[in-house]
Amino acid sequence: MYLAEQEQISRDVEGYLRRHEHKQLLRLVVIGSVDDGKSTLIGRLLHDSGRVYDDHLSAVQRASARGATRGQGSTATIDLSLLTDGLKAEREQGITIDVAYRYFATEQRKFIIADTPGHVQYTRNMATGASTADVALILIDARLGVLPQTRRHAYIAALLGIPHLVACVNKMDLVGWDRAVFDDIAGVLAEHAGRLGIPDVRCLPVSALDGDQVVRRGEAAPWYQGPTLLEHLETVPLATETGWSELRFPVQYVIRPNLDYRGFAGQIAAGVVRAGDEVVALPSGRSTRVVSIDTWAGPIDEAFAPMSVTLRLADEIDVSRGDMLVHGGARPAVTDRLDARVVWMAQRALDPTRTYVLKHTTRTTRVDVERIEGVIDPETLALQPAARLELNDIGRVTLRCHQPLFVDAYAVSRSTGAFILIDALTNDTVAAGMIEPPRADPSPADDVERVTAADRRARLGQGGAVIEIGGRDALATAYRLERALFERGRVAAVVAAEHATAFAAVAVLAIVPRSDLPDGVTLDGTAVEGEPLLAVLASAGRIDAARADHR
């Protein structure tokens, strides 16, 4: 802790508390790959700003001496990265497995750091940490420069709508604090961030190991006149309202202690509401007036995001959890069809033939996947056609909800533009979704109810699959298999490799003869209703299930 601060606490703790009470809250996500020195940087921030207790520090000292974890733990330098690794397996393996949250405060601000792992399921964890962040901190190894993964990290920050990006060029000590190295990296990064549309980008040279330019300025880089990392974090402007102040009040809970009181409780997702305001309840579209804004301490005149309040309304209209109160002017889109970018977070790929559960604000509904537009390459930003989404893929999809939602584009309002998908069978959270703006040129085709993958599956009793047949007799085997499946009532076709995923996407068993491959069968697809696809193939003849490699 800064000595000055300590003195002040000793002298006048009440004064200190009054100031602390008015601190701002900044949420920071730290993103880095293995060996970028991320844990060391966070450890350095906590340590040098005096937020590490002696018993924690001595535990780390003991562990540093014992393990000399990453080959750098001499008795003189303690391994600060050990401050942040929480789970036993993480300390044993010297890796970070899951998002962890750290807390520290300075004179100016209170910080919540989401510390995300760099390698294991990185996209999933990064998206988790980034979802609530105001600032994204990316680590770049000065010796390696901007890597493809750096571009991915920046893309995820942009995807999750983080307005401020800070890139720490770490390990500057290992390049002799060479200004040219830093300037090069800063230039490349600024160009990339510009393409991503991130409004505020800042590049800082640091050495987490020595602590230079993290909290302490140090003397290593006289050429660098900009702020230290902590100075920057203390001063980066916090945009709470980006000029967007339309009311979005998702009703979370109805408070009804007696017949005379009916309050609609919720956290204001966006905008401002005043007692006396005319509001519209969605989906009913009924108008009414806010009689009072209640809190535990008594009624208040005005409430704004992100306050949790209770609204009482003038008329006895039907409003319940999942509904939304808005002002009459700029309403959200009321729609059961969503175009969205999703981060797929489950081991099991997105299966368009299955139904998922979607949670958006306080509303939960079943949802079908109408269409997978493709997968986005986070390095080139290109959209590539795809039949499904795998773990850590970022895709564009069109969803059809079983109930209408009240949505805004994520770029405009994070709280009413975000959703999660839950697997209806396993109950796992499988995807994070960000709603795209409504298409500028609505086409008449949008109104047509499309045949969904679920419809096809229901009709055909099968999901799609790609079946690759290798070996010299691949073509003959493929035709025999096609015939056998056909006889069994299955929809199968021998197709060229480049068309296979398109056929699979419409629930066809696409058989691809590959005489260029060694003898064998490769399967990529979902089960056929009632029996695993492998068993169907085996019983369809001449395919030895044991030889098949089920991907």
């Binding site: 602390h20 009470e21 497995i97 209170k110 306050m307 796992d428």
Partner: protein, 314 residues
């Protein structure tokens, strides 16, 4: 407790910008309401400490003017400080809470105690097993806890909605991703969610809120002359005649207080003269040791909190 005069000042320092405490408050209230809305039988674990006091106040704020839509549950190891139980009963009676108390009766019959069975075994039986038993017997599908992520390393990884399997176990390597404020409360029968509304609060935030809101807390947090013995460098309060003294141990009156509260034979006191909230906070801010240092149960082995949590501890 003196009520700070500035609590009467409007909580919002500048137009339409919440202080960090009010942001945390709004977030916690959202979590409390979300659980109440999505689960059939929630319950709030009430451990009598400062964090529980804050959590209960937040719950009152979330559902006012209605009473809490769930009961409070205290897992009583029967070795809590007498002053805690006194405080619990008076506070719950005054506030009109539906308080349930559960102890592991079989373990009591077996004479399990913190002296003979070691803190680790004792905690497992009297706290973890008792908790799982109470949750099962009550048919609760969600349980609020007052744990904070800044308390301990494995807690830093805990979700706000922490999924527990049929046996109440936590699988830290296989947690559901948790994004924005969209919590996934889907569970199958027998599975439960532990919900942590104070996840993002720090020790200072909790104390600051106690001060700001004049929230009642157990007097043991404030310094007073108390009978203690020094054991392995820790001051243990002799709270009743069940305390076993080792040969050579002398009971002395010392002016001490507690930074965290639990079972008296396992809670280390600190020498202190802090008798007011600002003094307690001042001491905490200048302290060089974490609050859990006084808790003997965390020191059994490296990663002991993680092990306990995997087994179902809060």
């Amino acid at each position: 407790m003196p009520s700070p005069a500035h609590a009467l000042v409007a909580p919002v320092p500048s137009p339409r910008r919440l202080t960090h405490l009010r942001q945390l408050e709004a977030e916690s209230i959202h979590i409390l309401r979300e659980v109440a809305a999505e689960f059939d039988r929630p319950v709030m674990l009430y451990s009598i400490g400062k964090d529980s006091s804050v959590m209960v106040r937040l719950a009152q704020k979330a559902f006012a003017p209605a009473p809490l839509p769930f009961p409070l549950l205290h897992i009583d190891t029967t070795w809590k400080f007498g002053a805690m139980i006194e405080f619990r009963d008076r506070f719950c009676r005054e506030q009109g809470f539906d308080l349930r108390v559960h102890s592991n009766q079989r373990a009591i019959a077996d004479g399990i105690n913190p002296f003979d069975h070691g803190s680790s075994k004792y905690t497992q039986v009297m706290k973890t097993h008792a908790l799982l038993e109470a949750l099962r017997d009550g048919g609760y599908d969600a349980a609020f806890g007052g744990a904070r992520r800044d308390e301990e390393r494995s807690r830093a990884k805990e979700r706000i909605y922490s999924f527990r399997d049929r046996h109440g176990q936590w699988d830290p390597k296989n947690q559901r991703p948790e994004l924005w404020n969209l919590y996934n409360g889907k569970v199958r029968k027998g599975e439960t969610i532990r919900a942590f509304p104070l996840s993002n609060w720090t020790e200072l935030d909790v104390w600051q809120y106690v001060w700001l809101e004049a929230i009642p807390v157990v007097p043991l947090y404030f310094a007073a002359p108390r009978p203690v013995v020094e054991r392995d460098g820790t001051l243990i309060m002799v709270d009743d005649d069940r305390m076993r003294l080792e040969p050579g141990e002398v009971v002395r009156d010392e002016v001490v207080r507690f930074r965290t509260l639990g079972c008296y034979p396992l809670s280390g006191a600190i020498r202190s003269t802090a008798t007011t909230l600002p003094e307690v906070i001042q001491e905490m801010l200048l302290a060089r040791h974490s609050e859990r240092q006084g808790r003997l149960i965390d020191h059994d082995e490296d990663g002991s909190m993680e092990l306990k949590k995997r087994e179902g501890y809060f």
